[in-house]
Amino acid sequence: MRLAIVVQRYGPTIAGGAELHARHVTEHLSGFAEVEVLTSCARDYVTWRNELPPGRDVVNGVPVRRFPVRRPRSVERFARLSATVFHETHSVADELAWLDAEGPTSPKLIEYIRSNRATYDFFLFWSFRYYQAYHGAKAVADRAVLVPTAEREPAIGVSLFKPLLSGVRGVIYLTPEERDLVNGASGNGGIPSIVAGSGSEIPARIEPGRFRQKYGIQGPFAIYVGRIDRNKGCDELFEYFGQYATGERNPLQLVLCGNSILPIPDDPRIRHLGFVSDEDKFDGIAASDVLIMPSYYESLSIVALEAWALGKPVLANAKCDVLKGQCLRSNAGLFYQNADEFCEALSWFERLPDQARALGATGRAYFTRHYAWPVVEKQYVDLLDRLTREKRVGGGPLSDPLPGWWERRKRTLPPAEYVLETLPKGPSRRS
């Protein structure tokens, strides 16, 4: 089987969530099929500037073809069009212009996909919201498999994506919440799909004691791993932790691992270690009592999975449907909706270490059952085998032509954020 992985950016140093997921899956699928990556020359997702050389490359043994981006993103134009599409009644032409402005606009990549459609059995497109996924999947609708990596954000309400989400051959979701969201937005419940997360490379040797010694940390502590940013809910984390620490006699410490773009509160119970190596990250999680995930938007949260893989419980923000759903399904994490719940939950971890350990053990079992690489690989391979067996009749909605020039300019489409409001909310209970 020959597979093309089409992703907006690709490289060993590119650390975006979807891109990292694409690379891990690609490297694992290369053991089962002949895999080639088709991507842009960009490294920066804000500008899509051509930074890597076009043409062939090899990354960790996987062949890669890079195509230049026609023009870097104009942030101002993109912001203006985003405001139109997300908040105002708009037209199909507005949506097309928005998609074009979002990028990475690489007509050469689309042209290559169209002219080499017979070379590959399937094209796996990552991230539904980008230019290459929409135009690429339109070019090869009968061989397109989509990994949407959709989150609860207005882009899912853009009408242009409805035929994309419902017109591909198969869809691979990261979580059941993502599947419910996409089903609600596009009504694509009938097409073959799987919910397959991402495995994680857990080192064989974990040394929590080494971490404590290296950073001079004593006593029980909670850990946060990731960018320290308002978008990740860290300002709320600091506020809630302040309330918790003042109300407890022997509060847990808070250890932060990651680059910060927020000022860290001046509190002796908060330790900021900055960016740490993978080794320190895993040792740190293993040394901690609980991992805190304060983010509002997560499509999977690999760090939470890694904590479970190491037998550690998680305290997650309940406002993020995915995290709450993961905690409920795994039975290995608590969640908070407000400061009181945060304080009480942390206090629970501090007071009942045995039960906290039991939560962690359940998390480890959950990870092994659903997120170990052999499990994930098998799910991908099974889906592709199924799609190979089942031939599709007709082109599907993706092959339908766009409206005519005049119709395309009629401002009749509702704002994307209105559409988003109508989509299912809350954690998913079904697998």
Partner: protein
């Protein structure tokens, strides 16, 4: 995916979360979820929009009008002359200079163009005002709940304060009574330890008031002291029948209040009518202190 519901016998996240919320409720009093606050806000919103109940569908209409996109048109300077038929469009363009001899269509086009813009802005403001109103009502409801909670906390604090004040008064009166009784009575057998440990007690052998030796005071008071000793001896013989030897000399905690609070030795105090429960009573449980102690509340 396969079965997602791995359940451990010992832990259940949903149960733990229920316990956590129950603890919060105990601490905070009333606790509303986000959904409940929204429902309350919706009720407030309805009342706010329709105070007389004259128009039952008003809320729904406002919601629809406020959130549904309004159809608008675009009007440019060429709109008046447009047509989907190309020849007609061409003829109109050709005759436009002649038309302009009769009247100037430009101000008309300009005004209609502006009107389209005003319509668009108005639609936008309507959406904003709906959202603003909605958020204000939501926030007001949230504040109302918060005020209710704070009121409850103030009440709780006030009752705790009352309790502490009563307790303080009881302890003060205890100390006061002890010092008074120490002036009245000399240290006696079976009460020696208590007398020595009492905070306002003079050194053994001296009265609190005068500092004179106890023997001197006994001699001064003469027959009354002798009569008291006789009464005590008689009472000792009567109650001694059912009592364990030496019980009368059981050491008693120095502070009656503490003895009552920890309750470690109930019933072992040698409480004669002069020295017993009547004195320690207020410290054990001050009058009117049926209210649970702060520690009791925490434990609830």
């Amino acid at each position: 995916m396969a079965d997602f519901n791995i359940r451990s016998d010992s832990v259940n996240v949903e149960q733990i979360m229920q316990q956590i919320r129950a603890r919060i409720r105990e601490k905070r009093g009333v606790d509303y979820t986000e959904q409940q606050i929204r429902e309350l806000a919706a009720a407030n919103f309805e009342r706010f929009l329709d105070p007389q109940g004259a128009r039952p569908g008003l809320l729904e209409r406002f919601r629809q009008d406020g959130t549904s996109p309004i159809e608008n048109y675009s009007f440019e300077d060429t709109t008046l002359f447009e047509s989907h038929r190309a020849p007609l469009r061409w003829i109109r363009r050709l005759l436009r200079p002649i038309l302009k001899l009769f009247f100037n269509p430009n101000p008309l086009a300009h005004v209609l163009h502006m009107q389209a813009g005003i319509n668009a802005r108005h639609a936008h403001y309507t959406e904003l005002s709906y959202e603003l109103l909605h958020n204000l009502v939501l926030e007001t409801t949230r504040l109302g709940v918060e005020v209710k909670n704070l009121k409850m906390r103030v009440e709780s604090m006030s009752s705790r304060f009352d309790f502490a004040e009563r307790r303080g008064r009881a302890i003060e009166s205890l100390v006061h009574r002890r010092s008074e009784s120490a002036v009245e009575e000399p240290p006696a057998r079976g009460r020696t330890n208590r007398a020595q440990a009492a905070p306002a007690q003079p050194p053994p052998g001296q009265t609190a008031a005068t500092g004179q030796p106890a023997a001197v005071r006994d001699t001064d008071q003469g027959g009354s002291a002798e009569a008291r000793r006789r009464r005590r001896r008689r009472r000792g013989r009567r109650s001694g029948a059912g009592r364990v030897p030496g019980e009368g000399s059981q050491p008693v905690p120095a502070d009656g209040a503490d003895a009552g609070d920890d309750g470690s030795q109930p019933g072992t105090d040698d409480r004669t009518p002069e020295t017993g429960g009547g004195r320690d009573g207020p410290a054990d449980k001050p009058a009117g202190t049926d209210t649970p102690t702060p520690s009791d509340r925490e434990g609830q």
